[in-house]
């Protein structure tokens, strides 16, 4: 890669790092989300040269990150966990905190449903989510409505 491309790549990662970290945290065990994040960086690096501009760059980043995350889940989990990694707290408040409830709700979803909700939380439009998943915007809208209803039902129950 040329140094200009390296700078572009670094900018691309920096601009999307927060979202990549959040995705990695929600698809990997607490002890190995950083490994997943590194894997995402690597796959972005390898795919960057073939980016053809047909998709928006942000959509493209989510595609690579999500595909990497789903593959990562199929690998065996690491056996050894260091104490400092295990003890990492989630970035959420107490049990009544809506974000804490959202975290719990996300952990109960299968990987595909979780992807829909995570991409929506990241601020992607239905069309962009559909582009990442390879499905229709209408299907995403239906799924999002169901997910939000399920979450709100749980959220209201716990209040």
């Amino acid at each position: 890669m040329t140094s200009t491309a390296e700078i572009d790549f670094a900018t691309l990662v920096r601009e999307n790092e927060a979202a990549l970290v959040r995705l990695a945290r929600h698809y990997a065990a607490p002890a190995d989300w950083q490994d997943l994040l590194q894997e995402m960086h690597l796959q972005l690096w390898r795919s960057y040269a073939s980016f053809d501009g047909r998709a928006a760059l942000s959509t493209w980043v989510y595609r690579v990150a999500l595909n990497t995350a789903l593959s990562h889940r199929r690998k065996p989990a690491p056996v050894h966990q260091t104490l400092d990694r295990v003890a990492e707290p989630a970035d959420t408040g107490g049990p009544g905190d809506p974000l804490a409830l959202l975290e719990t709700f996300l952990s109960t979803l299968d990987p595909v449903q979780r992807a829909v909700l995570l991409l929506d939380l990241e601020g992607l439009t239905r069309e962009e989510i559909a582009e990442v998943l390879g499905t229709s915007a209408n299907a995403v809208a239906i799924r999002m409505t169901r997910l939000r209803q399920a979450f709100e039902a749980r959220f209201l129950e716990s209040r």
Partner: protein, 197 residues
């Protein structure tokens, strides 16, 4: 708190990014390491074949000189097998569909599932292209050189048992390492298809 507030709060949590130089250096190092592992594996397979093949080739030559054609045929079979295995593995790896990480999820999952099923089939058929030629070659060579007696029967029998056990282990590996994952991916594809309907 409405859903838009939730989204805002979700994205508000700060996440640290790596410095540019460290990011590039780490990614390049990881890329080099993984490519190195693949290269070493390919070279190791070829290296083992190159180291073992001359031993059996020399034995085949000696059998041919003595006009022991039955032994020669089995020895030649082993030499051919030693050469065939790394080529077969090399071709099989290159024939595997490589899922494009920048493809839409549905397309990516489909390619990943295809690759897993191919690898499962490869392992399930290992008895045919890996263990059977080796076993037939060794048994034929031993019987043709030393005749059929208790010692040679026990020797070839133990090799046969080893091959059967390894074939069984491969079938289990095909199921647990590939077919189960392929089924899980199929369920995820169905989940996505369900969204499209």
């Amino acid at each position: 708190m409405d859903w838009n507030d939730m989204r805002r709060q979700w994205r508000a949590a700060p996440e640290a990014a790596l410095p540019r130089e460290r990011l590039i250096a780490e990614v390049e190092a990881r890329d080099r390491k993984l490519r190195g592992i693949v290269r070493r594996r390919d070279w190791l397979e070829t290296g083992v074949a190159v180291a073992i093949a001359p031993v059996f080739a020399w034995q085949a030559w000696r059998l041919a000189e003595r006009a022991e054609w039955v032994g020669f045929v089995f020895c030649a079979l082993i030499v051919a097998w030693i050469g065939f295995v790394p080529i077969k593995l090399w071709h099989a790896r290159r024939a595997l569909p490589t899922p494009r990480h920048d493809a839409p999820l549905a397309e990516y999952l489909d390619a990943e599932r295809g690759a897993m099923l191919l690898q499962a089939r490869m392992l399930e058929q290992a008895w045919l292209w890996y263990f059977a030629p080796f076993m037939v070659g060794i048994a034929g060579l031993v019987f043709s050189i030393s005749g059929v007696n208790l010692k040679t029967v026990l020797y070839t029998g133990s090799i046969a048992v080893f091959c059967v056990v390894m074939s069984y282990v491969n079938r289990i590996a095909a199921r647990t390492a590939f077919r189960d994952h392929a089924d899980a991916i199929a369920r995820q594809i169905n989940e996505l298809d369900g969204e499209s309907t």
